[in-house]
Symmetry: C2
Subunit: 511 residues, 2 copies
């Protein structure tokens, strides 16, 4: 049964019950609110019982010596919320349906709910063991923060101009809901990817996502079932593994060597895996580029098995020894690769803009997931990024940032070599915004990271990048957000942290 | 094994093989690119074989009569991508590891992959039957669009001022990644919810989401396992059901009556349901307010069973007959309610900003899901919305929009009553931005909607809001985005569509 919207008219009749309620005309609380709250409180506390009549609005107004308007407002609210009901021929009463026994003990808690409130069952996916991406001892500040970019060189003036212009044009307030994202942005990205990354794509295949993490999530949800085995690089990117675990996939860590993921090992470990998550342009964290032969092996395996390859190209824009690396996707002729990119490293992670290049036949599945996820990304910033790309600011910014990061990289490598010499090896410094430092003989990288955190050094333990037991210990050092003049001091601190560790291990244990 | 970043030095030696490649100095393509592409093409086409030596950079530069720099650049790229490798004492060769047999037949496809490329298995969750939220015949334009808001009254001038000021202050480019969202925004929302919706909350409990759809998604992923039975209102909100189906939950449709969801029926259908999804302030689509007694029944059931209540308060800001309705969450003393709100109706759906009020003990689960989903929402627009709330623009905008929508509502109700009289019933017009029209004797609401779509009328069939077989047929009519002057004409069109249907059903079938 469906009820009619036309509420029954309020009956006018003399007062039939003494008002339990009072109002304070000096209070800042509006009178209608006071009347409403008094009745609501009295009902919830059980002082007014179901079926009990309430005075007419006129009678109550007279009784309280206030105008009738606030009483009408309060009654309308109490009727709308179901505390009151009107009965033909009788008038307004406390609703009959109210469960009396439950009301008597009920008081509204001003504080947060206590813990002692029955079973509190959450999704199993949230109870699987995992390593938090940010250990508690990392503050998120300090030198070597992985993921930080040179925000002090962000082109604020240009950006502000584009933002202001967009706002004046009324951008980002529209009603269009395209789960794929803004078409002009997708066109600009397609142009960029074809030219700079040899990605084989058109705008139709690109979905704008809330950063690359969201790209991985959407891909996994569109393509993989719980229980599906998935290859991940070992060591590899923890946040991608988190997505896979949360989706219930079975993680198959496949070691990397200097050519990238060891496809033959992967086939031995799990030939029937449903997907492989890889970072071919710049392996996270070790930094190597996947060789062409490995790329072809991986593609051949995927085509044969009907598996998917998720290519996360998170910072491939920054290479210091050669041009940008052509994508794995560009070598794929069977539509096996889902290519994921982001503006987090090249502009700012706060923008939360990434993209996925999707084989055409998979588009409906991605769209369906997106509808059930968030209906698409925020539009205003998409518009600004579009202008930034189209008007050439992006290419310019990329060029100047590449020079800037190359310098930071060189300063860091030199400082590390000068300071640690043969005590440590540096790997993966050809590209991206981080490198890996492998101090010789280090067999616990977590303790030094904790010590470093106390000194505002943001050291990321390499061991945490392993899904299984770590076979190497070291530190992932981000240099993107660390200005060159701060680097020598930070390296000195790092050396002291490492020395402290050594001395501590030499110190005799207390009896 | 981990490789060293220091690449072996390139050997200098005379040419040892005839270059297969040529360059065109008149081409717009840079010379290094031409050299790179020639080699890459020759390798991928199998014209150069693994192990085959390539000339030194000096020799090739001489041969091609170009400077050595582009050749060095191209070789560095080919080495980085693994087409070339350097061998001690020999020089640069085509990589040994390249799988020859696979190369021979490989050509890079400029077009999209063909469909005939082996098994293409996607997630089962994407293959479950569902009704698309937007049927193909709806263009997204036209009168009565449900979900549209009065964008022509959006406070563009104020908004632009706030956007420009934020951009000048460098907002939204930071590196802070708080999965909960901007704290000042959460504080402003907490203030608003406590005052206007009687929500029992502090800022700590609020997570900013990508619209309310994302709020539902995060809640479902944090709290519910595949197979969990969940109550939904019948008829109800399709997009919430989509989230539940995609999460593998078992949907239990529970009928609504004039007091809202029928809790006793729900208990009979599935006492052990893990959650209930409800719209207590303004039921979607029928528009009733859940009565206090039902609220208390629902809370009592949830507490007893350890179930969760997902309260979607998608447009509770707009009430025309009383003040805003107090939230269900405000009556909950056991931390059973997850309250979801959005700025989509009160500002614009394009902003994609919503929020979830989370019982404190559940915060870690929501945060874990968010880390694995997208790391949090875009920051710039959050800052602008914060200013909009804090500086009083929001309260002002809400007041003026309430007046505006009340007028649209009244114009629509009057036009419908004048035009259809007793031929139809109107329900749920006390609040929100839509009402439901129930033409008498209508037993198929989809066909008239298709006919209407041809005339730019956006009619939403009520039957599509049912999970099971529809027990009522009618139309959900949005008036938020339809200016009053357009309403009478649209109602006239609607009447003609209905008449056309009647005439069609009276017309004798062709022999």
């Amino acid at each position: 049964m469906i009820y009619d919207h036309r509420a029954p008219p309020m009956t006018k009749r003399p007062a039939t019950s003494v008002p339990l309620i009072g109002v304070d005309r000096k209070s800042a609380e509006p009178l209608h609110r006071q009347v409403y709250e008094s009745y609501r409180g009295a009902v919830l506390a059980g002082r007014l019982r179901p079926g009990q009549m309430v005075p007419s609005t006129r009678a109550l107004a007279l009784e309280l010596q206030i105008s009738r308007m606030p009483v009408l407002t309060a009654y309308a609210q109490l009727l709308a919320e179901g505390y009151f009901e009107t009965r033909a021929g009788i008038g307004t009463v406390i609703s009959e349906g109210l469960p009396v026994q439950r009301l008597a003990s009920r008081t509204i808690q001003p504080s947060a709910p206590s813990a002692d409130v029955g079973p509190r069952i959450v999704a199993s996916r949230c109870l699987t063991p995992y390593r938090p991406f940010l250990p508690a001892w990392i503050s998120g500040r300090g030198a070597f923060n992985v993921g930080a970019v040179a925000l002090e060189h962000f082109p604020h003036r240009t950006w502000t101009r584009l933002v202001t212009r967009s706002a004046r044009n009324g951008a980002g307030i529209g009603s269009a809901r395209d789960v794929m994202g803004s078409l002009p942005l997708r066109e600009a990205i397609a142009d960029y990817l074809r030219t700079s990354r040899a990605v084989n794509c058109v705008a139709d295949q690109i979905m704008i996502t809330n950063g690359s993490q969201n790209g991985v999530e959407l891909t996994v949800r569109a393509l993989l079932d719980p229980g599906s085995p998935v290859w991940v690089e070992e060591p590899g990117y923890q946040l991608a593994r988190d997505v896979l675990s949360m989706a219930g996939c079975r993680i198959v860590p496949v070691p990397v060597d200097q050519q990238g993921i060891d496809v033959a090992r992967g086939i031995k470990l799990s030939r029937n895996a449903r997907a492989a998550f890889v970072t071919p342009s710049h392996q996270f964290p070790l930094g190597m580029t996947m060789s062409v032969s490995r790329r072809l092996e991986l593609l051949a395996w995927a085509s044969k098995q009907g598996a998917w390859i998720i290519e996360d190209d998170y910072d491939g824009e920054f290479r210091y020894e050669s041009k940008q690396i052509a994508s794995l996707q560009g070598l794929d002729r069977d539509g096996r690769v889902i290519y994921i990119g982001t503006f987090s490293k090249v502009l700012s992670p706060a923008l939360r803009i990434g993209y996925v290049v999707i084989p055409r036949d998979l588009l409906p599945y991605f769209m369906r997931v997106r509808w059930a996820t968030d209906l698409g990304s925020e539009e205003f910033i998409q518009g600004v990024v579009t202008d930034f790309l189209r008007e050439g600011h992006f290419a310019r910014h990329l060029r100047s940032m590449r020079i800037l990061y190359r310098e930071r990289r060189s300063v860091l490598v030199e400082a590390l070599e000068r300071s640690l010499g043969s005590e440590a090896q540096i790997v993966g410094a050809e590209a991206g915004l981080h490198l890996v430092l492998l101090p010789k003989g280090l067999n616990d990288d977590v303790e030094p990271c904790k010590a470093a955190a106390l000194e505002q050094l943001w050291l990321w333990p390499l061991s945490q990048c392993y899904y299984g037991p770590a076979t190497e210990h070291g530190f992932v050092l981000g240099f993107g957000g660390t200005p060159p003049e701060r680097i020598p001091k930070a390296v000195k601190q790092l050396k002291e942290v490492l020395r402290g560790r050594r001395q501590a291990s030499l110190r005799p244990a207390r009896p």
